[in-house]
Subunit: 203 residues, 4 copies
DNA sequence: CATGAATGAGAATTCATTCAT
DNA sequence: CATGAATGAATTCTCATTCAT
């Protein structure tokens, strides 16, 4: 009556498969990854894999969700500086524009671009966009309300621009060799721009 | 001695196939378009299609090349304003940010993203990036030399940022409904960004 | 844990497919046999067939290997007569020249002839030739050392001639109706010749 | 009313195509040669090619016929030595076993082997076999009648063996590298074989 | 006669997904 | 639950041959 394997074990197995899948998707991209690739990387049987994830899409979405939960951790109400919070959001903990890109990002782009005609996928992409948008929008709105940021520009528009810029960088980074994109320099330029748009003077 | 059809006809046929292919690629995207789709849309037989284009990649690249030749027409040496030239380059003839997106753009993104692990495709993408980069870089360099633009930022960096922004917009536009991306508003904001980077005061 | 079917079953399935394939290859020849032919003869699905053999070449080579293992059974060190051993090698158990030809032989010839420009296939053919050559060469060498055979001719040359003769017979047999080739009579003549070349007097 | 091009011209054109086709067949083999290969090598249009030869088979058979007419020229009645005549037949003018192989031979084998299930082709092959057989058989019969050759063996049987040997050599030569087949040595050995079978003592 | 565009049957191969054990 | 054999729809690409001009 009791399950043969512990719930813990199941969770672990699932996590292992996901981790293996991540590597495979990073290597081959979304479209060119086959379930067999995943099976082999995760050392699961075909049936086993389908036990945890009912198809390739489901599997990939699980990876997408994973990424999400990590990011939603910040719910700070009061911070000394919204600007530094924004920088952290953009470039990670240290807030300086030299962070690595998410290696799965190219596959994520693929997933949404190739699936843009699929209603379900489209809706999912939109939801994710909205979530990202909210985060930046909220932050900027608060900064504006607190007086730290100028409200010259609509907060949502700035938020959208941030995402557009990030997406553009991710795209170019996916396609071009590192030395072509100049991630760091472009990021620095974009930061200057944000400073201007939000009227932030400090470094 | 006389071929069955005139050279004109051949050219036309090829153009027709390309046009049909364009529609199909716009509708289904690069990955999900099959040669059969194209065959049917262009009303060509299998063999006929392969007579003109040896495979899907070749066919799509023909479409990519088409786009290229159209753009290279402008080689103005002396202009009254580099800024307005830049605006024209970005937003078309009238230079105002309300242009339509190239409907094939999403498929182009697909083409390069899904092919990022293919040496040939990668090289091709890089070449195209370089070509685009040169155009903007040249323009900005001239503007800087003429004193119209500030040289606070490296011209190439600004050029890269322009492409990044365009790519980001194209990407979001491919995935999200029109009303979400706010093309026009973001473009206007981006123009401000450029004004800041190039120290251009005029409207 | 337990697979759907026993290992035995799998082996059997593979053997069944091979057997069906053999019949199909015998009937249509190598080039004109399609995987569909095999599928239907073996009553396997397309995917099923490809599960066992990754392509036509692989499938055929499996048949070739099969034939090989059967022959390698003889490793007799001391025999009362190398001549009778040679006859057995040539004509099967009873050592008399009235054996049937391997019905797959024509397809084997096809396989190697049509593939003569393919590096892989060529190498494989050479390997097989060498293996056959070794067997006859060894036998003759021993016979010569033991004094049973004359060493007037180089053992390897005689061995090559044997293979040439066999190949010639196989070829003619593949192309001509049985009554034309006169397998038995030609074989008898060839035996006489070998007797002369090896100086063997007995019947 | 009079033909636009001279009959001579037509003949020449045909001969040119055949010569080009020969080279192509030598290079790719019968099965893997396409009409396009021939078109390009002969610099004929598709339609032009089909004007002269109604299909690939027809084209190849024309090449086969070509070879035939050249050889059938000798019909000497009285010769001083049937043995030397036989040697000439086997090894060309000088009658010594160091002749080159017909480079088209591998393709000829292919043609007949892959076509062995086609009634027409089979009949054609048989006819050719018979023709070859007759030549050798006649020669040997005469030699036997004249007393130069022993009639221990049936002349036809010996003739068949000659063809078998030639076919075997051609086959091995088609598949194996030159140094493996040892054409010359095997030929010399085969001459000994014939000497035995025909009881000819002289060199 | 010559041309070469067009045809379309057919071959190989891939892969997500199912399901009997 | 796990297994992995089996399925078969889909897709790409090839090539001999035809035929309108």
């Amino acid at each position: 009556m009791s399950p043969r394997v512990s719930k813990e074990h199941l969770k672990q197995r699932r996590a292992d498969i996901l981790e293996a899948a991540r590597q495979v998707f990073i290597e081959h991209g979304y479209e060119h990854t086959t379930m067999k690739h995943v099976m082999e990387a995760a050392d699961v049987s075909r049936g086993g894999l389908y036990q945890y994830f009912s198809n390739k899409e489901d599997l990939f979405e699980a990876l997408l969700e994973e990424g999400l939960t990590e990011e939603t951790e910040d719910s700070l109400e009061k911070v000394e500086s919204y600007w530094s919070l924004l920088m952290q959001l953009l470039f990670g903990e240290d807030g300086s524009p030299d962070t690595e890109m998410d290696p799965l990002a190219p596959s994520k782009l693929e997933f949404f671009i190739t699936g843009r005609n699929d209603e379900r996928r489209r809706a999912y992409g939109e939801k994710r966009y909205e979530m990202g948008l909210r985060i930046y929008d909220d932050l900027i709105k608060r900064g504006q309300k607190s007086g730290e940021f100028s409200d010259r520009y609509d907060s949502e528009l700035v938020a959208r621009s941030i995402i557009t810029f990030i997406d553009g960088l991710a795209l170019d980074h996916a396609i071009l060799p590192d030395e072509k994109v100049k991630l760091k320099e472009q990021s620095a330029l974009f930061v200057d721009y944000l400073k201007m748009a939000l009227d932030v003077s400090s470094s």
